[in-house]
Amino acid sequence: MTVTEQRPSGEVGRDRRRKEDARLITGRTSWTDNLSLPGMLHLAILRSPMAHARITGIDVTAARGAPGVVDVFTGPDIADLQGAMPCIWPVTEDTVLPVYPPLALDEVRHAGEPVAVVAARDRASALDALELIEVGYEPLPVVLDMEAALADGAPLVHEAAGTNRCYTWILDSAQAGTGGDVARAEAEAEVVVRRRFIQQRLIPAFMEPRSTVVDPTGDQITMWSSTQVPHVLRILLSLGTGMPEHKIRVIAPDVGGGFGGKLEVTPEEFIAFAAARRLHKPVKFTESRSEAMLSAHHGRDQVQDITVTARRDGTVTGMSAKLLANMGGYLGIIAPGIPILGAFMYGGIYKFPAYRFECTGVFTTTTKTDAYRGAGRPEATFALERIMDELAAELDMDPLELRRRNWIDSSEFPFTTAAGLTYDSGDYAAATARATELFGYDALRQEQAARRASGDPVQLGIGVSTYTEMCGLAPSRVLGQLRYAAGGWESAAVRVLPTGKVEVVTGTSPHGQGHETAWSQIVADQLGVGFDDVEVLHGDTRTSHKGLDTYGSRSLAVGGIALVNACQRVVEKALPVAAHLLEADPADLEFAEGAFRVKGAPGAATKTMADCAFAVFQSHDLPDGVESTLDADATYDPENFSYPHGTHLCAVEVDTETGMVKVRSYVAVDDVGRVINPLIVEGQVHGGVAQGIAQALFEEARYDEDGNLTTGTFVEYTIPSSADLPDIVTDRTETPAPGHPLGAKGVGEAGTIASTPAVVNAVVDALRPMGVTDVRMPCTPERVWSTIVAARAAGGEGR
């Protein structure tokens, strides 16, 4: 028998509207906060108003007596129940792993840290009672700036650690044997360009605030949570609290967005878990938007010192990146590893012969940071693509020409980089050619020259970003080498029901991506069933006990293969059944166009998967050794990452009188391998580009000098709406991922990774004649204007 390796003619590659959207958009679904259990209590959390303080006492007497209040407790009250928050990615042997109590015990290390909890019969009573709790704080010095935190004599965030340095992680191609020595490259360089870039702190701002419901029944306990990682959560709840894993069931029902912000196991989940065990009652905690802004983990927040070396002809000879990465007051579950996910990408698509990366994680008295869409890779790509533009300016070369001279040619794949990765495939020239054509690159350059010549107060800038990224997290072997505590495989199970309908159980955990639709398309083609005949089940550890959830553009690239493998096992199991029904020899059959038939006999009788399913259901006369089920499952552990790439071009108009930046046009040509559903891919690119533009122009989490978050609502933390974003022109080239049965590479983060440098490069390009060589993100009007003023004062040409 052969399973045809066709480019399936049916569902895959089709624009399918997402089958999950009706219930997600109307909200008539199981959002965690929609759940209400009999006798359920509502929790409210009192949070520290201080960034750093010793707790001298907490008086809960008045709150206990307030109407509707059932219980009030503090950290010490639940010390033996609450466990400790885990960090599963100590990137070095000596990574400092501070004790992280879910509810503070005696000290707080960021504004917003939980200090006391009220359980009441309704949410309003719980919130009212918070105001009656008296907490004594003895202020301790705050530490906000990373360099200050590392200075001798700096106040310590964790006294017991004796340092604010969490770790220093180094990758040096000379030492690793993957490339040359950057110091030597620098000594021999004809051109050296250095820049310091600041990756401002961002707030993931998922649409649905986090919510959790915990239901203790007998010695079992069920937690519903608005999380991206139900499987990880179950394991860590067990390891963190000592409750046996098989007694815990975790359900991520429909989840309203995450962007990495829900790739976390949170103090609030641990507190609710402890509260339910303490009170023997179901409890719910739903955060307010303000709490989400203040205390859900933040993203980015790095200082990047970048050096690139080159020859005068533009050939790059070395790249060095030295980072400080802000961890915040405690470690999120994978926080130390986030910059390390970028460590391999500072060379991008270019042939750097020498490479060095060093990152120091730093504790400060701020909200912890952790994954945020792209996680380490947007930071890397930004620094690289920004400095390539600076190098082009230094060499007086068109930025696209500089890239052309250095990128890996499509004939050179697989290509092993100085960072030690082997890129599978790509065609950078093709994507760039398509992008420049859609963009009208040459005409825009002419318009730019004309505006410069006429001294137009509105200047035009053009930004380029030719990116690649690594996705499909991740080969377990590599994760092990990087000291990550879990693997990177994924699982899928396929159940064929008696009537021929199919249930798919996936270990991925969608929270807006559209897996139900894409997985249905894959299964429809693999098993020859209808798109609507497939139901995708996810996010419940009782139905799907194996899985590693959704992040890092991994679900399709890894989970998709597990699904295909499971489907192929189903086909293999159905084969003898079909042969029996067709009274043929299994060896003479093929499974093609959705049915079994005798090879080379078109028009002959066929048997469908539904026929086989009903036959095994009846099992009245199956051949010996044939099981009474077609169900099959599979896991898949990737050999390598996958490497989508693309070219994004952005044109901005900068009003030099006000500093206002307007994105005039934006072109994104992405190569994400084979596409299962173009509509979903386009949606991911649109959303990703929007988020990347937001980092470039709009968003920044800020603290005042006392460590208070001053961007705690959407009035101050300014996320753009569609009215603030350009029309995005998207197109694709398709270089299939070799060795991947679907050829798919992953698209969840590409837009975010590519777009930020494209936009900032455009802003700087517009202002370069005035002497501007960088604009700090976000490029708000005031910041752009003050950059112009400073450049003029420093003696730029000026207009």
């Binding site: 105001e131 303000s290 101050e716 300014t718 603030d724 204007w785």
Partner: protein, 284 residues
């Protein structure tokens, strides 16, 4: 979040509202569209004990022709204002500014009177009311009184309204033969003005006969740019003359530094935006 507990009454008449407010004293607050008040309650930045809802008072809603002026009911929503034919004909500046307020949902709930009573220095309607010499009609415990816009905006989020006072309507003189423009500067479509400029210009034979200009967010209250108006009066309707006049936009202004922008940046913006507003209004 959830607001702290409060009492609520839905007024059956303006008198009823005044009585309820007077009884509550400093603990009472009028509830109009709730678009500024409710966020403050939800963040527990304000905790009034009594809310008096004007939402049921049809007589406070709508735009009326009063001869040489329009009378706009305080409870008329931004959306109603921006679509009203009388406003378009006689006070298009108000329609243009109302259209820049927040987003669609906010414009359907937020009210013209609420915006004026709230007196947010970043709010767009107070400056417009000032530029148009609007007159507020107020009913309070001591009866009915008229307060001109120039006396109405007293301080940061503070107006001439006292406890128990209800703003019932706003009289806006019709501008015939004038053209107007509202120049709003903000980075995001649904955010408030960093700086805004309301301009009205009457031209005659290639020059500017008369002009009225008011600035949003260039002080704790909206500021009438008298220096600019003076310089424009009789000036030729040319870009240079307008730019020269706009340079006087800072006279009388005392911009604040806040989370959105520095005073220095606002100082840069005001003359630029004034020039643009006057040029757009005057068709220069």
């Amino acid at each position: 979040m959830i607001p702290a507990a409060f009492d609520y009454t839905k007024a059956a008449s303006v008198e009823d509202a005044v009585t309820a407010l007077a009884a509550a004293g400093d603990d009472g607050k009028v509830l109009a569209g709730g678009q500024s008040l409710l966020p403050m309650l939800r963040l527990r930045l304000a905790a009034p004990a009594m809310l008096v809802d004007l939402g049921g008072l049809a007589e406070l809603r709508g735009v009326h022709d009063d001869g040489d002026a329009l009378r706009i009911g305080a409870m008329t929503t931004h959306d109603e204002v921006m679509r009203d034919p009388l406003v378009h004909e006689h006070a298009p500046l108000i329609a243009q500014a109302a259209e820049t307020v927040g987003d669609r949902q906010i414009r359907h709930l937020g009210t013209f009177g609420g915006s004026l009573a709230h007196a947010d220095p970043a709010g767009d309607l107070p400056g417009v009311a000032l530029a148009l010499d609007a007159v507020m009609s107020v009913v309070g415990p001591s009866g009915v009184r008229d307060v001109p816009a120039s006396d109405f905006f007293v301080d940061y989020f503070t107006t001439a309204l006292g406890p128990g006072d209800v703003l019932v309507s706003v009289r806006v003189p019709k501008l015939t033969g004038w053209s107007t423009h509202y120049e709003k500067f903000h980075q995001l479509a649904q955010s408030w003005s960093v700086v805004g400029v309301a301009a009205a210009v009457r031209r005659s034979n290639g020059s500017i006969a008369e002009a009225r200009v008011a600035l949003t967010n260039m002080g704790v209250t909206p500021v009438r740019a008298r220096g600019v108006e003076e310089a424009l009066t009789g000036a030729p309707a040319t870009a240079d003359a307008v730019a020269d006049a706009a340079a006087r936009a800072l006279e009388g202004a005392s911009p604040l530094t806040d989370g959105t922008a520095s005073a220095e940046y606002r100082t840069q913006l005001a003359p630029v935006l004034t020039r643009r507003a006057v040029m757009a209004a005057g068709g220069v």
